[in-house]
């Protein structure tokens, strides 16, 4: 552990040091040209030496023994104490650095190109050739003239072409290309370990000389040239680390996932789009066998009833204001209710992984956004606003794993004989006891609810007689719910509400709900956990937006006689429309990737599987890389359109 930590600390500080040194060296370029040229070539030499020495390619870089063989790879270990090893390792890089630096210094001091070329070619060629002569027998290449010629010509041509296209010196490009081509052709093509020391010397000396000639070509730049070079190198230094991380950790892995998703489980056989086909034809993802049941579900009928109400109110509204739906109009509430209920009816009958994800999107997005908006509006300007908002926002700080654990304790279901220790089941069982009992509490609660029902009816009647049936819609919806509750509570039909069960012998026992394990609604209870977290997020963003609505607008509306609710629906809400869009898209993207809650609470069992958990299980538990990668791509594809909109909006803003 400690040695790992030490190694990481060394690696991180070394990276930081390299970054700083790079900046310092580039800074020399503008003021001290000779020093800069010396340092530049010196570092080139050091890198060259490190490649040879670090890979133990040259003799004298330490005694080598074959330590272990695993997976057919040989790992090399040098022997001796660490100081001995360090000296054996470092002497060649240091030598190369000094030699290259000297060449660099001399070259930068010569005005004539021919002189520079001679110094460069001989100096760099000699040092590189010396390295080549030291190459261990097992690495010496037997040069294949044809392959070498082809490689040199092709890569040199490529270099020249690139240089021409970038409007740089064509010959320089060709020289660089020739050197690289020589290395590839001499070291890459033939079998290593069959050649002689002469071959390995030539194989390194020639590219060294070519690089020397290349380095000798440009004259010392003028001020503008140095400025240009400074900008270019700085851009490279400042962006390099970030681009490196982005490439290795994001771009390449993402492309590789796409590639892996087209192969079988062990990534050996190319199977085209079969993984995607498997996912979509698997009934676990997409089970429509019971779709007819949705028409017999109560949710569907309630939803259809609300849809009917919406149509009636919509037609009225159209006659009056010319619009079928309007923010805050009586018709929008029933429409929203209908969408939710019909959605629930569909999602509880058509089951599967992908269906669950869509259900999550519907519930979490809708509930979090609307609740967050409601709280933002309710709390605006109230006493204790800050405390209330803090408490509602607090779950954002808790991890999703922590939130799942917290909610487990809310959802606990104990045996019916024991005390319920979870809040929900405690209430549910207590309600069952109230409803089936006949004591004073039963009566009191019943009367209170009945009075509320009466008040709702009065409100409906008042609004109807006043000729404003639109205003009666909201109380009517509540009246239906409360009325349904009362019918059950007073046992007009059924045996009462709440968690109870009547046994065969007529005795009544408590019947808790197993919130986490009873499908299909256990999905909904898992979603509540995310709603609990995301409501605070929606609230904070929306209340900031509400506060940003210009007060003149609101005051103008009030002067014109608008009521509070009219101000909200007609002025505030349209003003914060884009912010609501931001909240909704952010939550959708988050929900499409939901993983932690499902993993911790059910691990996808009991019909709660979602894409991200399925991907994790397939890829890391079952070892099916192909399907796992394909599922990852599906998540990617499902968020891309939303993210595309998001990024476009962000760029418009900034």
């Amino acid at each position: 552990m400690s040695s790992t930590t030490a190694r990481i600390v060394i690696a991180v500080s070394a990276s930081a040091a390299i970054w700083l040194i790079a900046n310092l060296i580039v800074a020399q370029g503008r003021t001290h040209w000779t020093r800069f040229a010396t340092l530049r070539l010196g570092i080139g030499g050091l890198l060259f030496g490190i490649i040879l020495s670090g890979n133990r390619i040259i003799s004298g870089s330490g005694t080598i023994e074959i330590a272990t063989e695993r997976n057919g790879d040989t790992s090399w270990v040098t022997t001796g104490g660490w100081s001995e090893r360090l000296v054996a390792w470092i002497w060649f890089p240091l030598l190369a650095m000094v030699a290259f630096a000297v060449c660099g210094a001399f070259m930068s001091m010569r005005e004539a190109r021919t002189q520079r070329t001679i110094i460069g070619a001989i100096g760099l060629g000699a040092v590189a050739g010396f390295g080549g002569a030291l190459v261990r027998a097992e690495f010496r290449p037997a040069i294949d003239g044809v392959a070498l010629a082809i490689a040199v010509v092709v890569v040199a041509g490529l270099g020249a072409a690139i240089a021409t296209l970038r409007r740089r010196d064509t010959i320089s490009g060709a020289l660089t290309g020739a050197a690289i081509g020589w290395i590839v052709g001499a070291w890459g093509a033939p079998e290593l370990g069959t050649g002689s020391a002469a071959w390995s010397t030539i194989a390194l000396a020639v590219p060294g000389a070519l690089f020397g000639i290349r380095a000798a070509r440009p004259d010392a730049p003028d001020d503008a040239g140095r400025d240009r070079m400074d900008r270019r190198s700085r851009a490279f230094i400042f962006l390099g680390p970030a681009l490196l991380f982005v490439t290795t950790n994001l771009v390449v892995p993402a492309l590789r996932t796409l590639y892996l998703s087209l192969f079988d489980r062990d990534s050996e056989e190319f199977i085209g789009l079969d993984n995607y086909r498997t996912i979509f034809t698997d009934p676990k993802a997409w089970d429509t066998s019971t779709w007819r049941e949705m028409f017999s579900s109560q949710l569907m009928w309630l939803g259809v009833a609300l849809l009917g109400l919406f149509i009636i109110l919509g037609i009225r509204g159209k006659r009056r204001t010319g619009r079928v739906i309007e923010l805050g109009s009586a018709s929008s509430g029933p429409l929203l209710g209908a969408v939710v209920l019909i959605g629930f009816a569909v999602f509880t009958t058509v089951r599967g992984t992908i269906v669950n994800n869509l259900w999550w999107v519907l519930v979490v997005t809708l509930f979090s956004t609307s609740l967050g908006l409601a709280i933002a509006v309710l709390a605006d300007g109230l006493k204790g606003e800050r405390i209330a908002k803090s408490l509602i926002f607090m779950p954002m700080a808790v991890s999703l794993v922590g939130a799942s654990v917290i909610w487990r304790f809310m959802y606990i279901a104990r045996d019916s004989a024991k005390t319920q220790t979870g809040v929900f089941n405690s209430l549910w069982v207590a309600l069952g006891r109230l409803s089936t009992g006949d004591g004073l509490p039963t009566l009191i609660i019943g009367v209170i609810v009945t009075v509320i029902f009466g008040l709702l009816l009065v409100s409906i009647a008042r609004n109807l007689t006043r000729g404003e049936p639109g205003r009666a819609a909201a109380p009517a919806v509540f009246a239906i719910l409360v009325g349904w509750f009362l019918i059950r509570y007073w046992k007009i039909t059924g045996t009462g509400v709440g968690g109870h069960r009547i046994k065969d012998d007529g005795s009544i026992v408590a019947q808790p709900i197993n919130f986490i394990q009873d499908p299909p609604f256990n999905n909904f209870w898992l979603m509540i956990v995310l709603v609990w977290i995301q409501t605070g997020f929606a609230m904070v963003i929306l209340s900031a937006a509400i506060r940003a609505v210009p007060t003149e607008l609101i005051e103008a509306a009030k002067v014109d006689g608008a009521t509070d609710s009219q101000v909200f629906w007609r002025v505030t809400l349209p003003q914060i429309g884009t912010t609501i869009g931001v909240v909704v898209t952010a939550i959708i993207v988050l929900v499409m990737k939901v993983f932690d809650i499902v993993k911790v609470m059910t691990n996808g069992n009991f019909g709660t599987e979602v894409l991200a958990n399925n991907m994790f299980r397939e890829a890391f538990s079952f070892g099916d890389t192909g399907i796992g990668a394909a599922l990852a791509m599906l998540i990617f594809i499902s968020v891309v359109p939303i993210m595309f909109l998001n990024i476009r909006r962000m760029q418009r803003e900034s």
Partner: protein, 313 residues
């Protein structure tokens, strides 16, 4: 509901009821607040109760004699829970580098994109920001393979395999976790910091250039001190994100008990049904303690970070 309360004319018993209904919004708000706090409260109270009390009696009936410190003692001491102390250290070993390193690297890049003139700057910036769209699931499988095996490329035709990145044996270490976090943080961090750094006044930079300052000096002496608010916002966002992360840690270090952060420890505790359930509240509270401290002490920055983070993919 507020619809009911709005229209009142005249006076009478019904009007008086409506006057009460006017207060409904406040009541509703505080009702929601109470409901929202209940889950955390229940776990917090349960964490101080004995195993027996947790299992047989509801937390809102807690009596003084049920209270105990045993849960906290056993999560830190006992080996059955895997040792919360060790996993707290691991969480730190992940979160600190995963916050500091991306912030510095992204600050360089953001400055480069904003104030260093080079060809293809705009295109490159858009490309980097577009990477926000990549959900982290997409990169997990190859990254794990990279940490297990290193990266090797088999050259076509030549039939030779060259090693691009050697196998550093990083799998199941905290290093693998924060390296992954660093990569994923990059597009968002660059985007956020670039927005801020590019909006600094141009005159400032020109004056510094005339005084002979190079890019490094300007960055170090001028841009970094001026960008502290946005750096703080990102740091808090990233710290909480990495502290609370479960997916990446579970993928990269999930099977090594010595390298797991607190989130995995708690998820594992929750996984072995029954046995250690009475320790869960205490463990969950300890895990949430650090983010809650950050939340309550730095709420302003926290909110700013969350607001900014809403665009993260």
């Amino acid at each position: 509901m507020s619809d009911i309360a709005v229209h009142t004319h005249g006076s009478g018993p019904i009007e008086r009821i409506y006057a009460t209904l006017r207060r409904v919004p406040t009541i509703v708000l505080w009702f929601i607040v109470i409901v929202w706090s209940l889950p955390s409260l229940s776990v917090f109270i349960n964490s101080w109760r004995t195993r027996d009390a947790q299992r047989s009696r509801s937390w809102w009936t807690t009596k003084p004699d049920e209270l105990t410190l045993d849960n906290y003692e056993s999560i830190f001491n006992s080996t059955t829970s895997g040792g919360l102390g060790n996993s707290l250290l691991n969480s730190m070993a992940i979160s600190l580098p995963a916050t500091i390193i991306p912030i510095s690297i992204a600050a360089f890049a953001a400055y480069g994109f904003a104030w260093i003139d080079f060809k293809g700057r705009k295109g490159l910036f858009i490309a980097v920001v577009s990477l926000l769209a990549i959900p982290l699931q997409v990169a997990l499988i190859p990254l794990l393979q990279l940490y297990v095996n290193g990266a090797h490329l088999t050259l076509p035709w030549l039939d030779k395999t060259i090693t691009i990145i050697p196998d550093f044996n990083l799998v199941n270490t905290t290093t693998a976790v924060w390296l992954t976090h660093t990569g994923f943080a990059m597009p968002f961090a660059i985007f956020l910091l670039h927005n801020y750094i590019s909006s600094l006044p141009r005159d400032l930079f020109e004056a510094a250039r005339i005084d002979g300052a190079d890019h490094f000096t300007i960055f170090w002496r001028l841009v970094l001190p001026l960008s502290i608010p946005v750096l703080a916002a990102f740091a808090i966002f990233q710290f909480l994100w990495t502290w609370n992360d479960y997916l990446i840690a579970n993928t990269m270090a999930g099977t090594n008990p010595d390298a797991i952060p607190t989130t995995i420890l708690i998820a594992n505790l929750a996984g072995d049904f029954g046995m250690n359930e009475h320790l869960l509240p205490a463990a969950a509270f300890v895990q949430a303690f650090v983010p809650l401290v950050v939340f309550f002490s730095l709420q302003r920055y926290f909110v700013r970070g969350i607001l900014a983070g809403s665009v993260k993919g």
